[in-house]
Symmetry: C2
């Protein structure tokens, strides 16, 4: 029976892509831009982008102010973002009701990395970008990092370079395109569009702007190991890179690389089937009740506003502050804005183990008030230990004490990584990947499961499964060799 009409319209996934990604990940000294040139580039850019950031009082903010009725902190245009209040009721965790300030940024921005083959190796076009909240100068950032206010140029700045590649791309050139959440404790339902688009050729490639360089995936994996060098937006986009960059078991340069490669390969199997993983996530979403309702910032209980700061009366969590920025390298040379300043450095750790030679990571179905759908998968541990000094042992986060007491030989990855410097002031955490033995007791906790990279890569093709901290660590984990 011949039923096919055979017009050749049917298309299939590009089977060469995983190999091309693996080749880029193996090119750890780059092709277009050798590592020595990268180091010099970052040094140069740090000189070119000097930021002077000083704390000011709220009354000194220009174009920003507190709404007379609600006390919400907002830009006069109504764009960018606002600081509002949120009331939270939940059946999860030791504290079941609270209110807090939260950033409301309903516009969906674009975080985009443009990729291109150079001498047969895929490269990512990265930008050296400085943000007012950074602990250092520039960080390696995506090609494009633009809020809608940015790219519709509400602030009257210059056009965003390379934005056109992401506005209405040829569908066949898109490698990844997914809405992903950001910090659910600080943002109310914020999502950004994480995009990876391949460019064939485009004008001006020999005339790269000073802020942009072509780097391989292997180079980015190495840069991720340096403190505060690859920014949060770059990490989240990298985590959404299609599967394959982990390489093939047969090419592995170490036992660890082989365990990573096997973990990302579909046919190797896993502790839990895909259906079981999805059912577990559904059960957590259905199990936990989180009701949030917007609240005027002025009515948030237990938070105190002084002329220069809004902070919790116990000094915990974070503050809202105001800063004045003068820069020599951004679209707008001087401006003021509010920032969120976390109190205490965070600990963000992923426990991993090898099961029959296949790496599994222990994810936590975590409730945060700003998530769109109740829970997202977080690293094994994600907290600010300082916030728990008053907390009874039973209410301390599971596995925190294990992470704080880990042996050096268990550490597969460790770096201080920054959160987004456009919203957060000196926000960084110790990001770690810690290997535990295959028989590590995980106590059968209902909110924790061991997943493979293959399962995580699949979830990352969809919105709202994996939180931003876990995405950072997955980007690092995928690069371990």
């Amino acid at each position: 029976m011949e039923r096919h009409t055979g017009t050749g319209l049917l298309r299939k996934p590009d089977v060469t892509l995983p190999h091309r990604l693996a080749r880029s990940a193996a090119a750890t000294d780059g092709v277009a831009t050798p590592n020595a040139v990268v180091a010099k580039w970052i040094e140069d850019r740090n000189l070119a982008h000097r930021h002077e950031v000083k704390r000011i009082e709220f009354g000194e903010l220009r174009q920003w102010g507190f709404d007379a009725g609600s006390g919400n902190l907002r830009h006069e245009s109504g764009r960018f973002f606002g600081v509002e209040g949120l009331a939270v009721d939940t059946d999860h965790g030791p504290v079941t009701h609270w209110s807090q300030p939260i950033i409301n940024q309903p516009e969906i921005g674009i975080l985009g990395i443009l990729v291109k083959e150079i001498d047969g190796v895929l490269h990512c076009l990265m930008q050296a970008k400085s943000e007012p909240g950074n602990v250092n100068g520039v960080q390696v950032s995506p090609t494009v990092q633009a809020t809608k206010s940015n790219y519709t140029r509400v602030h009257g700045g210059r056009p965003v370079p390379y934005l056109d590649h992401f506005r209405d791309p040829d569908p066949e050139t898109v490698l990844a395109d997914v809405l992903q959440s950001e910090q659910g404790s600080w943002f109310y339902r914020k999502r950004n569009r994480n995009m990876i688009v391949e460019a064939a050729e485009f004008a001006g490639e020999d005339d790269l702007p000073d802020d942009f360089r072509w780097l391989t995936l292997g180079q980015l994996h190495e840069l991720l190991k340096q403190d505060n060098l690859v920014n949060m937006d770059a990490r989240t986009v990298l985590s959404c890179m299609p599967a394959g960059l982990e390489g093939h078991e047969a090419d592995a340069v170490s036992d660890l690389a082989a365990a990573v490669a096997r973990s990302s390969a579909q046919p190797t199997g896993s502790l839990h089937t895909r259906t079981e993983v999805l059912s577990w996530i559904t059960s957590r979403q259905a199990q936990h009740v989180v009701r949030t309702s917007p609240l005027p910032l002025g009515e948030v209980a237990n938070w105190v506003r002084t002329p220069a700061e809004i902070s919790h009366e116990l000094g915990l969590f974070f503050s809202i502050i105001a800063v004045d920025i003068t820069t020599n390298g951004r679209e707008v040379a001087q401006w003021t804005q509010p920032l969120v300043r976390p109190h205490g450095a965070g600990v963000v750790a992923l426990l991993v183990k090898r099961v029959d030679g296949v790496l599994h990571a222990l994810l936590n179905a975590r409730v945060e008030p700003g998530y769109l759908d109740v829970v997202e998968l977080a690293p094994t541990v994600q907290c600010t230990p300082d916030n728990y000094v008053l907390t009874p042992a039973a209410d301390r986060p599971p596995f925190l004490d294990m992470v704080l007491g880990r042996r050096d030989d268990q550490v597969l990855f460790s770096a201080q990584l920054s959160e987004e410097g456009g919203r957060f002031h000196h926000a960084y955490s110790d990001y770690q990947i810690i290997e535990v033995p295959a028989d590590f007791p995980d106590a059968g906790l209902a909110d924790f499961r061991w997943l493979t990279l293959n399962q995580l890569n699949e979830l990352l093709r969809h919105s709202h499964y994996v939180n931003v901290q876990a995405r950072s660590l997955i980007a690092c984990l995928r690069g371990l060799r």
Copy 2:
């Protein structure tokens, strides 16, 4: 290099499942319950479950009333559901701002079908269930259809039969488990947990309650073709059945069956790759802005409340009414409740075409105010034509006139199907699957794409991609032979 420790902990998907599903779908006259017995069963159950439903005034509702402040209609327990107001601002469609009544039912219920092999053929345990809003008597319903209020027995009713199979199932017995939305024009962010669980054996199987019978997938596909017989909750759970029930091309009994089988098979290819489909959905979520905010029901503009009805001043859309129900066959013998009564019958149609012998369906990325995440994929046409009598031609839904003027020989499926009778009074639509030629002009509309069943089945493993009307038609489409 031998790195595997080989403890045998790694697990893989059950490759026999697709074959077991296909065998059940092929068993169109059942095994446990022949079709003649099914017909008699439904007849008997219709006699056993007599409902007397009469319209009453809101003032005659017991335990329900309008909140003095907000005017919201609610149950005195605060459970079940409430009728509230919603203000909507969007950049999508000809009307960019409106307010409307909407049902708020934040609790996540369970819609569960228990399946079991009988004589080597998978069967679904279906319930003959009557609901106050049904246009007829009983409809074929899932094994379990329970709100949290139901199964925590807020109304003091009897326990929900078979519920324990779904409360904390052995993960290996779960075939599907996913939160899915319901009507986004009538419900605010309602989701139910759609579950399919396989039972090995359990006590009492020779002693089935009168309301329950074991039916094959093939029998359910035949029942779907009858008007108002398989209820909405059964249809949505069936749509989440794992892939495979469409059968294999080699076993196809017709050209149509072969096109359906190929459409559900991964390796046949598709007009758009999976990455392109996901990117298209992301682009629609990012493109359309929908801002909703809760509003007291008393402040909804253009809607009028009389003693017996809340309705739009033009008589369009729907009304909120109150009913008194007396029944001889439900947990509680008499009660009163509000219902939503739609005005005019809906048209819900899916256009399909064969591309190189592979069936593709034309899905619409549709904005509804009650969706959690801006858009969900809807059938090609989903509307109440009566609502468009005053609408200029350019603003009429795309493809509506084509559907209304289709030839009989284009109709692959046509039945009147009901929405949920526990919330809606005589809500039904003409559900149709209409085949168009491969070169059918689809005008390149940005909100429409042709997808295969394989792609739709994949999306249905996740929440919030496919709306309830499309899920109904997909359940029907998967059964076409």
